[in-house]
Amino acid sequence: MMQVRVTVNGRVFERDVEEHQTLLRFLREDLGFTGTKEGCGAGECGACTVFLDGKTVNSCMVLAVEADGSSIETIEGEAKEGKLSVIQEAFDRHHAVQCGFCTGGMVMSVRELLQRTPKPSVDQIKEGIEGNFCRCTGYQQIIEAVLDASGQKELADKGGLKHA
């Protein structure tokens, strides 16, 4: 066991953790942040994507002990004071959520993409979410949601599929 101190969505947590525990299991099982999901456990699907010191990572491939002293952001920190973020609202508007399993990780990758590319092209969006699998939507609605969230509503509406 080792003692680990992390900040998650602005709150500080101190816990004893096993050396072989992944950051994903630590967030879900020890701290209760179950919005972050385990899909493949091997870095293929991106359902476990969180921010670690400002960079997106697959939390299934990070040890909890490696995160000692770090600041982590998860999907639970996306809405502020009960209000959905711009990205979440756009996902809602464009039906970019079906089963929802990929959504937590997907929103993390989209937030990261928009931080570095405020008005991404469709190709840049596809590349930004290439590490996040969605088995429900076929990605079209997600791409439209990202276009909308980045102030490109006209392009989003031309996306081919109309919702809402």
């Binding site: 091997a42 870095g43 990070v62 040890l63 490696e66």
Partner: protein, 271 residues
């Protein structure tokens, strides 16, 4: 769930090399973890001790100088390479290969050194390092030695690095600065996927080198070619250097064929 192991996060090189010497063969180095933790999860590796290298002083960042060349270190990530303006300008082939490696999240975490010591035949960074004439500087308590990447890979998942050693620096020589090059990887999908085959073509001062992945037990270097050679000579050299197998992704004949196609296309495309 991962099997149990002990964990160490040394902050000095001496401490790290001491641990490696002491726990010879029982320890594994952790940098990005994107291969190691998957291997532990699958039971392929069962280390007693996992040593995080990222906290060791002097083990991160990228430096470039005319006298020393370009230096990549154990904690240098793939995205560090992609964000580096000097790498983009002076060694564009490195950026090309880095860009095709896995997904954004993995590139944030995975390291260049991890990618080569993992020694997968489909390593994306190896083709660039082979073409650019890079060398590996390998350290242990016994001392330091240099191995050119052309002699670094010894088989599938096998390299010259011994149990008590760490690949401490990758040095890309200043003489390769300005080399033009492209890398292309054949994949089942447009996004995050392992390569079916990958080909890098480099041209510099009349010389041509090829770096080929997923077409032999190790990444392959084809050297000794010139820009004035006709395309059939170049393709024949590539064909001779590779020994592809048939597997879940495709047949060896298809690999052979597509390596030739990619060599032809890239040779024409690299200005």
């Amino acid at each position: 769930m991962l099997q149990r192991f002990q964990y160490a996060a040394p902050t000095t090189r001496d401490e790290l090399l001491g641990l490696l010497a002491e726990r010879k063969g029982k320890a594994r180095l952790l940098a990005g973890g994107t291969d190691l933790l998957v291997n532990i999860r699958n039971g392929v590796m069962k280390p007693e001790l996992v040593i995080n290298v990222k906290k060791v002083q002097g083990y991160s960042g990228i430096t470039w100088s005319q006298s020393e060349g370009l230096i990549l270190r154990p904690a240098t990530t793939i995205n560090d390479v992609l964000r580096d303006r000097q790498v983009r300008e002076l060694f564009p082939l490195l950026s090309e290969c880095a860009h095709d490696l896995a997904s954004y999240q993995i590139r944030n975490r995975a390291t260049v050194i991890g990618n080569v010591v993992n020694a997968s035949p489909c390593s994306d960074m190896a083709p660039a390092l082979l073409c650019l004439g890079a060398k590996a500087v390998i350290a242990s308590k016994r001392g330091e030695r240099e191995v050119p990447f052309g002699e670094f890979f010894k088989g599938v998942k096998k390299t010259v690095v011994q149990d008590d050693e760490i690949l401490e620096r990758i040095v890309v020589p200043a003489s390769s600065a300005g080399a033009r090059g492209l890398y292309r990887k054949l994949k089942r999908i447009n996004g995050h996927d392992l390569g079916i085959i990958g080909v890098a073509v480099m041209k510099k001062d009349g010389l041509v080198r090829l770096g080929i992945s997923s077409s032999a037990p190790t990444p392959v270097l084809v050297d000794g070619l010139g820009e004035k050679d006709d395309i059939e000579t170049i393709v024949a050299a590539a064909r001779k250097a590779i020994s592809p197998i048939s597997d879940v992704r495709c047949s060896k004949e298809y690999r052979q064929y597509m390596v030739e196609v990619f060599v032809k296309r890239l040779f024409a495309e690299v200005e």
